[in-house]
Amino acid sequence: MKQISCILFLSSIFSMQTLAQVYTAKSGSASFFSESSIENIDATSTNVQSILNTSAKSVALIIPMRSFHFKKDLMEEHFNEKYVESDKYPNATYSGKINENLDFSKDTTCSITSTGKIAMHGAEKEMTAPGTFTVKNGEATLESNFNLAVKDFNIEIPKLLFKNIADTVAVKINVIYQPYKK
């Protein structure tokens, strides 16, 4: 019994330590772009939620699908209703490890990579994405650009429209972090 409580005590110290090094998104944006011969698809979300744990070197992101806004209202309706089915799958999420050490204490710009799982439209994919970590005037920013294949997420493009919709989309993520306040 003594041993168990000792272990519990130890593990709670561990988790306290992880909480102490946690940063959350002050603001975040995500956009995706796809080009085709007929029309370009371009959407932006300014509602990216994120949490970054520097001691465990792990990161998590949530992007509500409904927060993506398009220039054409009809495109936004089709995106939500037919392609990502946002009523069934409301969020895109990412959870992964940062493969490098992040130093928040001094101004810096460095290239990093993150390996983890991206989940969207009921499908999951393991991936490693490149990124840039910047600290300037005490504010930390994480940026990442990568490509996603539409078919990896069970998103079907009707044969009639394959010329309008490209099979890969370029994704850009930008998050500004602040220390986690309880």
């Binding site: 272990i7 037919k82 490890k97």
Partner: protein, 295 residues
């Protein structure tokens, strides 16, 4: 040995906490938002009935509605009228503009009674996701002015300006159930400043319609009006519309059949004189194009 295992287990779980549960922690602190429910219906009307949908803000919708003649031979169709396609019972040419995301106004010309029609539709309440409003509540108003020559009009009493006016007011209650089924229920008040002798100036009617998505891009649609007070006059019937809706890219194609004998609300609700039973139903279609004029 047991002690050793326990320590290992605890260490493993702490690391797991650090990675996977970070996402769970984020999920719990992300507030659930009530987003407006989208695509309850694919058009401003199902067939005859208005829906909760409005023209998006800054968009101008140009629309031509066409109602052919009766298909059945017993109602004037048959082979010699090419099943109604040689006739046009009504044509409506309309412009609708979204002033805000909740308010649309429009003007139209309707062939049958040489009518100039003004409409307004106002979203009072939107259905929202995640336990928000369960219902969309929308107000619709129509005012019409007939330009007919007073001798030409069957009533021959169009001698004053007010006699040429008619109205329709509807409270549109709509709800999307899940992702496939949408229902609309519409208490309606029609007022005409002049009517035939046996007819009544005021009419109360209940309209109902639905859309049932059967594949990713197609749906069965139908709507119906039941005239509550007064009931239909002899030789008048309740308008029933049935259709098949196919959505491709930017266009919605709808194949619609209805016994309605007009395209303006304050005309087809009181004045439908054809019945499905005698083949008095017609093919109807819309051609529309949306132009984005402002943001």
């Amino acid at each position: 040995m047991q002690k050793f295992l326990l320590i290992i287990l605890t260490l493993v779980s702490t690391t797991l906490f650090a990675q996977d549960d970070l996402l769970k922690q984020l999920q719990t602190q992300t507030p659930t938002k009530h987003e407006p429910v989208i695509a309850t219906f694919k058009g401003f009307k199902i067939i005859n009935i208005e829906t909760n949908e409005t023209t998006p803000k800054g968009n101008l919708d140009f629309r031509v509605g066409h109602l052919f003649g009766n298909i059945g031979g017993a109602s004037g169709g048959g082979l010699h009228g090419f099943y109604g396609l040689d006739n046009s019972v009504d044509v409506r040419i309309a412009f609708n503009y979204g002033i805000t995301k909740c308010l649309t106004v429009g003007v139209a010309h309707v062939k049958k009674n040489e009518t100039i029609e003004g409409v307004a539709k106002w979203k009072l309440l939107q259905q929202k996701t995640n336990g928000g409003s369960p219902l969309a509540v929308t107000l619709f108003g129509e005012a019409t002015f007939t330009m007919k020559d007073k001798n030409q009009y069957p009533l021959e009493r169009l001698d004053t300006f007010p006699h040429r006016l008619g109205y329709c007011t509807q409270l549109i209650l709509a709800r999307k159930f899940g992702s496939r089924f949408s229902l609309v229920l519409t208490p309606t008040w029609v007022h005409r400043n002049i009517t035939a002798l046996a007819d009544s100036n005021d009419l109360f009617s209940i309209g109902a319609g639905f859309r049932l998505k059967v594949t990713r891009s197609s749906a069965i649609i139908a709507d119906y009006f039941y005239n509550v007070s007064p009931a239909n006059l002899a030789g008048h019937y309740s308008p029933l519309g049935i259709g098949w809706e196919i959505e491709t890219g930017g266009h919605v194609f709808t194949i619609m059949f209805t016994n309605a004998t007009g395209l303006a609300e304050n005309d087809f609700i009181p004045n439908t004189t054809d019945t499905w039973e005698r083949g008095g139903f017609k093919l109807s279609f819309n051609i529309s194009r949306m132009f984005k004029l402002a943001n």
